[in-house]
């Protein structure tokens, strides 16, 4: 009887029934989704739409990374965009015309350095961006991860604001020029020092432009070039990086380390007494989370060809957090869906909705009375600029109706909803059947 009631206690989820537990069903669903995602750019001939899908991929990477921090380790990070920025600027600084070095050019398969800038091979840059972001994750995490909950959230918020500001101020400008080594050859055509006497590292308000795209790939039947306007090679690049990331993250979740994250979330004191190094384990989560946003930043910067410090402020951190919460904290497929939804919402759906509503307004503004007045207002209402409002509404709605997210992680769902109403109802029902002597 006890076993029976336990077996029936399952949190409800999007797909409903228990067939979701069947590993073959799960595998089939995953295979189908992967296949569709793989075929999508071939089936869809619209370049802008595939381009949107690429943006969605970047969002997915960011959501996956933040999910390690927030979902797995249970640390609220409100400044995650800082690592996105660091990933993007790593790409911008190590693979562009930004830094002119020396007078002659050294060139090989892995990198080119010379007056024309530092150009790291894109495929070398992939691990570099992740490592640099992870390094900054350690740097920011080490002094702060002793803090808990609200305090940590505030500190990460601070770092999130500091990083873009530092990037802004490490750019060129007038001031004392001390360091010659970095922008030796660039002295003539660029203001080569800023207010604090450091050479132009980040481009500051002038941004960094001319970021390299990946070199052409000619492997067997694959001939990809990222120099054209075709977004498909970009899409597949993102596809491969996401695939590798998901494999890595799944393994981490199921590893000894993943178990420690859950244990710390459940009971920090007990975890410590089981021999888990609390700060170290959290720091690992922070650094790993940062690493994946490094991938995101790299993909973002290389495709756009330019980065600007003002693309990485608080609102970006919040958007990423929304993806994670919307999709389902701690759930890998969940946060991926969250990333896709937010990407499409901000890239196309809001504009579509806005246009439809405006059309509706212009159709009804001749109507008499308040309806006509409403139509006149609606015809020109800038709904697509109300993105933060809509994101906010989504957050509030999700927290009220479905705090566990679209595709919830089972364990996290239990943590949020220890005894859901349906479980209580089931229990009552059971008691009732016992009393009436059924079964």
């Amino acid at each position: 009887m006890a076993a029976l009631s336990l077996a029936r206690r399952r949190p409800r989820n999007l797909l409903g029934g228990e067939w979701r537990d069947n590993p073959w069903v799960r595998r089939a669903v995953v295979a189908l989704v992967v296949l569709l995602a793989f075929l999508y750019p071939i089936l869809d001939h619209s370049d802008p739409r595939v381009d949107t899908a690429y943006v969605a991929e970047i969002y997915i990477l960011l959501a996956l990374g933040l999910n390690i921090v927030v979902g797995f380790a249970g640390l609220l990070d409100l400044g995650y965009a800082a690592f996105f920025a660091i990933g993007a600027y790593t790409a911008a600084m190590l693979a562009s015309t930004h830094f002119s070095v020396g007078k002659s050019t050294i060139s090989n398969l892995l990198f080119t350095i010379g007056p024309g800038g530092i150009h790291l091979n894109f495929f070398v840059l992939i691990p570099c961006a992740a490592l640099v972001a992870a390094f900054f994750g350690l740097l920011f995490g080490a002094p702060t991860l002793r803090l808990r909950g609200d305090y940590l959230a505030i500190v990460t918020l601070g770092f999130g604001e500091i990083v873009p500001k530092v990037v802004e101020n490490l750019g060129g400008g007038s001031g004392l020029f001390l360091g010659r080594f970095v922008c030796h050859g660039a002295l003539h055509h660029r203001h080569c020092a800023n207010g604090i006497g450091i050479p132009d590292l980040t481009g500051g308000i002038n941004n960094i432009t001319g970021i390299d795209a990946p070199p052409n790939v000619n492997l067997l039947w694959i001939h990809w070039s990222w120099q054209t306007n075709n977004p498909r090679p970009w899409y597949y690049l993102g596809f491969v990086i996401i695939a590798i990331s998901v494999i890595i993250i799944t393994r981490l979740r199921d590893s000894r380390l993943g178990r420690c994250w859950v244990a710390i979330r459940e009971d920090e004191v007990a975890a410590a007494h089981a021999g888990v190094n609390i700060t170290g384990t959290r720091l690992t989560a922070f650094a790993l989370g940062a690493a994946f946003s490094g991938f995101g930043g790299l993909l973002y910067a290389s495709q756009l060809g330019t980065v600007s410090y003002d693309q990485f402020f608080f609102s970006v951190s919040v958007s990423i957090l929304v993806m994670v919460i919307l999709g389902g904290i701690g759930s890998i497929p969940g946060v991926m869906v969250g990333g896709v939804v937010i990407a499409y919402l901000s890239q196309t759906w809001l504009d579509t909705i806005s246009a439809k509503l405006n059309t509706l307004g212009s159709n009804i503004h001749h109507a008499p009375g308040p309806i006509g007045a409403f139509g006149t207002w609606l015809a020109t209402a800038p709904i697509s600029t109300a993105k933060p409002l809509i994101l906010g509404l989504i957050l509030v709605g999700m927290m009220l109706l479905r705090p566990q997210g679209l595709i919830p992680n089972r364990r996290r769902a239990r943590e949020l909803h220890p005894e859901t109403a349906s479980e209580a109802a089931e229990e009552n029902e059971e008691l009732w059947t016992v009393q009436t002597g059924e079964i």
Partner: protein, 264 residues
Amino acid sequence: MPEGAPLLETVGLTRVFGGLKAVDNLDFTVNAGEIVSLIGPNGAGKSTVFNLVSGIYPPTAGRVLFKGENISGLKPDRVERRGISRTFQTLRLFANMTVLENVLVGYHARLHSNLFGDIIKPPWVARAEREAVAEAKRILSLLSPRLVSHQDFRASDLAYADRRLLELARAMASQPALLMLDEPTAGMNPSEAVEFMEHIRHIHAQGFTILLIEHNLSVVMGVSQRITVLDYGTKIAEGTPDEVRRDERVIEAYLGRKAAAATA
């Protein structure tokens, strides 16, 4: 560690909270292979002693020596890696993890792996993981067949006495040299408490050294080889159960002055 050699020693152990001396200049010893109990009325400082040893907070003064080394002030995970495991007065399980996972976390300190190993999962990491699972199952079966048959249930779904056993299993998983159990029978009914004490005897026979906090005197008297009695943070008596039972100051601390006079 040879049988009978001092395993855990506290030397002048003192902890002050505000103006209150929770533990005052305490010296006591647990020898390898023993079951020692720490008893005393409510607020005597028993749990504080545990917290000082396991590293929840550092002592205000004095030292904790384990295998002759000073471990005072070490963080809990370091203490655990040295070979001291504990349970808590108020159950602290990982409620939403399965029974087996709970024990695996306890085994954690014995697993040596790094980030790289966790991601790539080379054969030796996979083997270590399999061994950990086998060992966790062995420990569960040592304590109760119920735990084995419920190994995939989440911990919070177990019956209360089984949850207590699970916490014990988690503490045993790291094969500690010293097991510290903080009121393990709290909240149990008398027959459950008796059964639990059988478990303690059983695991003691397996070679664990055990330090026990207990409230239930009848339980303690039956199982311990030596007893240390605390009152107001100081040691008021020490010895075999029989010696402690007759000690006037112990009776006084437990029952009050008048009762002590009456028995005298």
